[in-house]
Protein backbone atom coordinates (compact mmCIF):
# COMPACT_ATOMS: atom_id res chain seq x y z
CA UNK A 1 0.00 0.00 0.00
CA UNK A 2 1.28 3.45 -0.85
CA UNK A 3 1.56 5.57 2.28
CA UNK A 4 3.23 8.92 2.83
CA UNK A 5 3.14 9.94 -0.84
CA UNK A 6 0.95 12.52 -2.52
CA UNK A 7 1.19 11.03 -6.01
CA UNK A 8 2.21 7.73 -7.55
CA UNK A 9 2.66 9.19 -11.02
CA UNK A 10 6.24 10.34 -10.88
CA UNK A 11 8.08 12.02 -13.77
CA UNK A 12 9.82 8.69 -14.40
CA UNK A 13 6.45 7.07 -15.03
CA UNK A 14 5.19 10.01 -17.11
CA UNK A 15 8.20 9.58 -19.38
CA UNK A 16 7.07 6.01 -20.16
CA UNK A 17 3.54 7.00 -21.13
CA UNK A 18 2.78 6.36 -24.79
CA UNK A 19 6.23 4.96 -25.68
CA UNK A 20 6.03 1.79 -27.77
CA UNK A 21 8.39 -1.07 -26.89
CA UNK A 22 10.26 -3.29 -29.33
CA UNK A 23 7.86 -5.44 -31.39
CA UNK A 24 7.88 -9.24 -31.11
CA UNK A 25 6.83 -11.79 -33.74
CA UNK A 26 4.86 -14.96 -33.13
CA UNK A 27 5.74 -18.31 -34.67
CA UNK A 28 3.41 -19.20 -37.56
CA UNK A 29 -0.12 -19.90 -36.33
CA UNK A 30 -0.81 -23.65 -36.54
CA UNK A 31 -4.21 -25.18 -37.32
CA UNK A 32 -3.69 -27.64 -34.49
CA UNK A 33 -3.08 -24.84 -31.99
CA UNK A 34 -6.34 -23.19 -33.09
CA UNK A 35 -8.17 -26.51 -32.65
CA UNK A 36 -6.76 -27.03 -29.16
CA UNK A 37 -7.55 -23.45 -28.11
CA UNK A 38 -11.16 -23.92 -29.24
CA UNK A 39 -11.45 -27.26 -27.41
CA UNK A 40 -10.12 -25.72 -24.19
CA UNK A 41 -12.35 -22.67 -24.24
CA UNK A 42 -15.52 -24.57 -25.23
CA UNK A 43 -14.81 -27.52 -22.89
CA UNK A 44 -16.66 -29.85 -22.31
CA UNK A 45 -18.74 -29.05 -25.42
CA UNK A 46 -17.58 -29.59 -29.01
CA UNK A 47 -16.21 -26.34 -30.44
CA UNK A 48 -17.69 -24.84 -33.63
CA UNK A 49 -16.34 -26.41 -36.87
CA UNK A 50 -15.13 -23.01 -38.15
CA UNK A 51 -12.10 -23.61 -35.88
CA UNK A 52 -11.22 -27.17 -36.95
CA UNK A 53 -13.13 -28.41 -40.05
CA UNK A 54 -11.49 -27.08 -43.24
CA UNK A 55 -14.28 -28.31 -45.54
CA UNK A 56 -16.95 -26.59 -43.46
CA UNK A 57 -14.90 -23.44 -43.00
CA UNK A 58 -14.28 -23.15 -46.75
CA UNK A 59 -18.02 -22.61 -47.23
CA UNK A 60 -18.23 -19.68 -44.84
CA UNK A 61 -17.52 -16.01 -45.58
CA UNK A 62 -14.00 -16.57 -44.19
CA UNK A 63 -13.11 -19.21 -46.79
CA UNK A 64 -11.12 -21.32 -44.32
CA UNK A 65 -10.37 -22.04 -40.70
CA UNK A 66 -10.08 -19.00 -38.45
CA UNK A 67 -9.04 -18.85 -34.81
CA UNK A 68 -11.27 -17.73 -31.97
CA UNK A 69 -10.77 -13.97 -31.71
CA UNK A 70 -9.00 -14.29 -28.34
CA UNK A 71 -6.47 -16.89 -29.62
CA UNK A 72 -2.95 -16.22 -28.32
CA UNK A 73 -0.21 -17.12 -30.84
CA UNK A 74 2.52 -16.04 -28.40
CA UNK A 75 2.01 -18.95 -25.99
CA UNK A 76 4.88 -21.44 -25.67
CA UNK A 77 7.90 -19.45 -26.92
CA UNK A 78 11.19 -21.31 -27.32
CA UNK A 79 13.03 -18.56 -25.48
CA UNK A 80 11.24 -17.12 -22.51
CA UNK A 81 11.99 -13.47 -21.97
CA UNK A 82 10.84 -12.24 -18.59
CA UNK A 83 7.89 -9.90 -18.78
CA UNK A 84 8.87 -6.33 -18.16
CA UNK A 85 7.73 -5.41 -14.65
CA UNK A 86 4.86 -2.99 -14.41
CA UNK A 87 6.27 0.48 -13.84
CA UNK A 88 6.50 1.27 -10.14
CA UNK A 89 7.42 4.56 -8.47
CA UNK A 90 10.89 4.27 -6.93
CA UNK A 91 10.98 3.05 -3.35
CA UNK A 92 7.50 1.51 -3.29
CA UNK A 93 6.38 -2.11 -3.37
CA UNK A 94 2.88 -2.34 -4.74
CA UNK A 95 0.31 -5.12 -5.01
CA UNK A 96 -1.13 -5.61 -8.50
CA UNK A 97 -4.60 -6.74 -9.54
CA UNK A 98 -5.94 -7.51 -13.02
CA UNK A 99 -8.74 -4.99 -13.28
CA UNK A 100 -10.07 -5.99 -16.68
CA UNK A 101 -9.54 -5.59 -20.39
CA UNK A 102 -11.04 -4.32 -23.62
CA UNK A 103 -10.25 -6.16 -26.84
CA UNK A 104 -11.05 -4.84 -30.31
CA UNK A 105 -10.73 -7.19 -33.28
CA UNK A 106 -9.91 -6.74 -36.96
CA UNK A 107 -8.63 -9.37 -39.39
CA UNK A 108 -9.07 -12.93 -38.09
CA UNK A 109 -6.03 -15.10 -37.33
CA UNK A 110 -5.57 -17.98 -39.77
CA UNK A 111 -3.19 -20.94 -40.03
CA UNK A 112 0.17 -19.70 -41.28
CA UNK A 113 -0.24 -16.15 -40.02
CA UNK A 114 2.64 -14.48 -38.23
CA UNK A 115 1.47 -11.92 -35.70
CA UNK A 116 3.50 -8.90 -34.63
CA UNK A 117 2.83 -7.46 -31.18
CA UNK A 118 3.86 -4.09 -29.88
CA UNK A 119 3.15 -2.78 -26.42
CA UNK A 120 3.12 0.48 -24.51
CA UNK A 121 1.76 1.99 -21.36
CA UNK A 122 -1.19 3.94 -22.69
CA UNK A 123 -1.92 5.85 -19.51
CA UNK A 124 -1.40 6.18 -15.79
CA UNK A 125 -4.25 7.34 -13.61
CA UNK A 126 -4.58 7.45 -9.86
CA UNK A 127 -7.48 7.57 -7.50
CA UNK A 128 -8.26 7.10 -3.83
CA UNK A 129 -9.82 3.71 -3.07
CA UNK A 130 -10.26 1.34 -0.18
CA UNK A 131 -6.52 0.62 -0.19
CA UNK A 132 -5.54 4.29 -0.19
CA UNK A 133 -3.90 5.90 -3.21
CA UNK A 134 -4.22 3.47 -6.13
CA UNK A 135 -2.44 3.53 -9.48
CA UNK A 136 -4.33 2.41 -12.58
CA UNK A 137 -1.94 1.37 -15.34
CA UNK A 138 -3.48 0.91 -18.78
CA UNK A 139 -1.27 -1.29 -21.00
CA UNK A 140 -1.97 -1.41 -24.73
CA UNK A 141 -1.02 -4.31 -27.01
CA UNK A 142 -1.53 -3.90 -30.74
CA UNK A 143 -1.33 -6.86 -33.09
CA UNK A 144 -0.91 -6.83 -36.86
CA UNK A 145 -0.41 -9.73 -39.23
CA UNK A 146 2.24 -10.43 -41.89
CA UNK A 147 0.30 -8.25 -44.37
CA UNK A 148 0.23 -5.32 -41.97
CA UNK A 149 -3.51 -5.74 -41.31
CA UNK A 150 -4.83 -4.80 -37.88
CA UNK A 151 -5.68 -7.95 -35.89
CA UNK A 152 -6.34 -6.96 -32.32
CA UNK A 153 -5.94 -4.19 -29.76
CA UNK A 154 -6.00 -5.08 -26.10
CA UNK A 155 -6.22 -2.49 -23.34
CA UNK A 156 -5.48 -4.13 -20.00
CA UNK A 157 -6.00 -2.30 -16.74
CA UNK A 158 -3.78 -3.19 -13.80
CA UNK A 159 -4.67 -1.74 -10.41
CA UNK A 160 -1.69 -1.19 -8.12
CA UNK A 161 -1.77 -0.20 -4.48
Amino acid sequence: MATGVTTLITQELRDLEGVWGEPRRSPPVAASDIRKWAIATYWPNTPPPIHWDEAYAAGTRWGGIVAPADFNPFAWPIRRTPLAPLPTPKGLTLTSLNGGQVETYGAPQRPGDIIVDRMRVASFRERHGRFGLMLHVEVENEWTNQDGAFVRRRLSTFIRY
Partner: protein
Protein backbone atom coordinates in the same frame (compact mmCIF):
# COMPACT_ATOMS: atom_id res chain seq x y z
CA UNK B 1 -23.87 -20.01 -46.19
CA UNK B 2 -27.05 -18.80 -44.47
CA UNK B 3 -26.46 -16.49 -41.54
CA UNK B 4 -27.67 -17.57 -38.12
CA UNK B 5 -28.70 -14.07 -37.13
CA UNK B 6 -29.38 -10.94 -39.19
CA UNK B 7 -29.13 -7.33 -38.11
CA UNK B 8 -32.81 -6.83 -38.88
CA UNK B 9 -33.75 -9.58 -36.39
CA UNK B 10 -32.23 -7.81 -33.38
CA UNK B 11 -33.60 -4.99 -31.27
CA UNK B 12 -32.75 -3.25 -28.00
CA UNK B 13 -33.76 -5.33 -25.01
CA UNK B 14 -33.15 -8.72 -26.67
CA UNK B 15 -31.35 -11.21 -24.44
CA UNK B 16 -28.39 -13.39 -25.29
CA UNK B 17 -29.28 -17.10 -25.02
CA UNK B 18 -27.91 -18.41 -21.71
CA UNK B 19 -24.47 -20.03 -22.04
CA UNK B 20 -23.10 -21.85 -18.99
CA UNK B 21 -20.13 -23.83 -17.78
CA UNK B 22 -19.44 -25.44 -14.42
CA UNK B 23 -15.74 -24.83 -13.89
CA UNK B 24 -12.98 -26.55 -11.99
CA UNK B 25 -9.42 -27.76 -12.62
CA UNK B 26 -10.57 -29.70 -15.70
CA UNK B 27 -11.44 -26.42 -17.41
CA UNK B 28 -8.63 -24.35 -15.93
CA UNK B 29 -5.85 -26.85 -16.69
CA UNK B 30 -6.95 -27.14 -20.31
CA UNK B 31 -6.90 -23.37 -20.65
CA UNK B 32 -3.54 -23.14 -18.88
CA UNK B 33 -2.19 -25.66 -21.39
CA UNK B 34 -3.19 -23.68 -24.48
CA UNK B 35 -2.49 -20.20 -23.10
CA UNK B 36 0.73 -21.22 -21.33
CA UNK B 37 -0.82 -19.77 -18.16
CA UNK B 38 0.57 -21.93 -15.38
CA UNK B 39 0.24 -19.52 -12.49
CA UNK B 40 0.49 -21.45 -9.22
CA UNK B 41 -2.66 -19.87 -7.78
CA UNK B 42 -4.70 -21.31 -10.67
CA UNK B 43 -3.41 -24.84 -9.99
CA UNK B 44 -2.82 -25.31 -6.31
CA UNK B 45 -5.12 -24.65 -3.34
CA UNK B 46 -2.30 -23.63 -1.00
CA UNK B 47 -1.04 -21.08 -3.53
CA UNK B 48 -4.57 -19.84 -4.11
CA UNK B 49 -4.97 -19.23 -0.38
CA UNK B 50 -1.57 -17.50 -0.24
CA UNK B 51 -2.79 -15.22 -3.02
CA UNK B 52 -5.73 -14.20 -0.84
CA UNK B 53 -8.49 -16.57 -1.94
CA UNK B 54 -9.76 -18.62 1.04
CA UNK B 55 -11.33 -21.09 -1.40
CA UNK B 56 -7.90 -22.09 -2.75
CA UNK B 57 -7.10 -22.24 -6.48
CA UNK B 58 -9.21 -19.97 -8.65
CA UNK B 59 -9.97 -19.65 -12.35
CA UNK B 60 -8.42 -17.37 -14.95
CA UNK B 61 -10.00 -14.07 -15.92
CA UNK B 62 -8.97 -14.80 -19.51
CA UNK B 63 -11.09 -17.95 -19.51
CA UNK B 64 -14.20 -16.03 -18.43
CA UNK B 65 -13.38 -13.54 -21.17
CA UNK B 66 -13.32 -16.50 -23.59
CA UNK B 67 -16.72 -17.61 -22.31
CA UNK B 68 -18.18 -14.18 -23.16
CA UNK B 69 -16.65 -14.38 -26.64
CA UNK B 70 -17.90 -17.93 -27.22
CA UNK B 71 -21.42 -17.16 -26.01
CA UNK B 72 -21.56 -14.22 -28.42
CA UNK B 73 -20.13 -16.26 -31.28
CA UNK B 74 -22.62 -19.10 -30.68
CA UNK B 75 -25.44 -16.55 -30.79
CA UNK B 76 -24.40 -14.71 -33.96
CA UNK B 77 -22.95 -17.61 -35.98
CA UNK B 78 -20.03 -17.79 -38.41
CA UNK B 79 -21.24 -15.16 -40.91
CA UNK B 80 -21.10 -12.44 -38.26
CA UNK B 81 -18.19 -11.16 -36.20
CA UNK B 82 -17.40 -10.07 -32.69
CA UNK B 83 -15.78 -6.64 -32.97
CA UNK B 84 -15.15 -5.75 -29.32
CA UNK B 85 -15.45 -7.10 -25.78
CA UNK B 86 -14.59 -5.35 -22.55
CA UNK B 87 -15.07 -6.42 -18.96
CA UNK B 88 -13.94 -5.73 -15.41
CA UNK B 89 -12.96 -8.58 -13.10
CA UNK B 90 -14.99 -8.09 -9.96
CA UNK B 91 -15.14 -11.55 -8.35
CA UNK B 92 -12.98 -14.66 -8.44
CA UNK B 93 -14.05 -17.86 -10.22
CA UNK B 94 -14.16 -20.51 -7.49
CA UNK B 95 -13.87 -24.26 -8.00
CA UNK B 96 -17.27 -25.72 -8.84
CA UNK B 97 -18.84 -22.38 -9.80
CA UNK B 98 -21.53 -22.55 -12.46
CA UNK B 99 -20.87 -19.51 -14.64
CA UNK B 100 -23.51 -18.18 -17.00
CA UNK B 101 -22.81 -15.58 -19.65
CA UNK B 102 -25.60 -13.04 -19.81
CA UNK B 103 -26.14 -10.32 -22.38
CA UNK B 104 -28.71 -7.70 -23.28
CA UNK B 105 -28.87 -5.68 -26.47
CA UNK B 106 -28.47 -1.98 -25.73
CA UNK B 107 -28.63 -0.68 -29.30
CA UNK B 108 -28.71 -1.89 -32.88
CA UNK B 109 -27.72 0.69 -35.46
CA UNK B 110 -26.43 0.98 -38.99
CA UNK B 111 -22.99 2.57 -39.16
CA UNK B 112 -22.26 3.01 -42.84
CA UNK B 113 -23.06 -0.41 -44.24
CA UNK B 114 -22.39 -2.22 -40.98
CA UNK B 115 -25.12 -3.62 -38.79
CA UNK B 116 -23.61 -2.84 -35.41
CA UNK B 117 -25.10 -4.20 -32.20
CA UNK B 118 -23.95 -3.10 -28.75
CA UNK B 119 -24.64 -5.25 -25.70
CA UNK B 120 -24.16 -5.21 -21.95
CA UNK B 121 -22.56 -8.52 -20.96
CA UNK B 122 -21.57 -10.27 -17.76
CA UNK B 123 -20.60 -13.65 -16.36
CA UNK B 124 -22.87 -14.45 -13.44
CA UNK B 125 -22.20 -17.16 -10.87
CA UNK B 126 -24.70 -19.62 -9.37
CA UNK B 127 -25.56 -17.07 -6.64
CA UNK B 128 -26.41 -14.41 -9.20
CA UNK B 129 -23.27 -12.40 -8.50
CA UNK B 130 -21.78 -10.40 -11.37
CA UNK B 131 -18.18 -11.61 -11.80
CA UNK B 132 -17.16 -9.56 -14.84
CA UNK B 133 -19.60 -6.94 -16.07
CA UNK B 134 -18.79 -5.33 -19.39
CA UNK B 135 -19.83 -4.59 -22.93
CA UNK B 136 -19.58 -6.10 -26.40
CA UNK B 137 -20.03 -5.00 -30.00
CA UNK B 138 -20.97 -7.47 -32.72
CA UNK B 139 -21.37 -6.90 -36.45
CA UNK B 140 -24.29 -8.73 -38.05
CA UNK B 141 -24.99 -9.36 -41.73
CA UNK B 142 -27.95 -7.56 -43.27
CA UNK B 143 -30.78 -9.19 -45.19
CA UNK B 144 -30.45 -8.55 -48.90
Amino acid sequence: MTARLYFEDVKAGDLLPAWSRTTDLMNWNRFAAVNDEFMPFHMDDADGRRAGNPGGAFGMGNLRFAYILNALQDWIGDEAEVREIGCQYRKMNQKGDTLTVSGRVLAAELVGDEGRVRLAVDVVDQDGAATCPGHAVVILPRRK
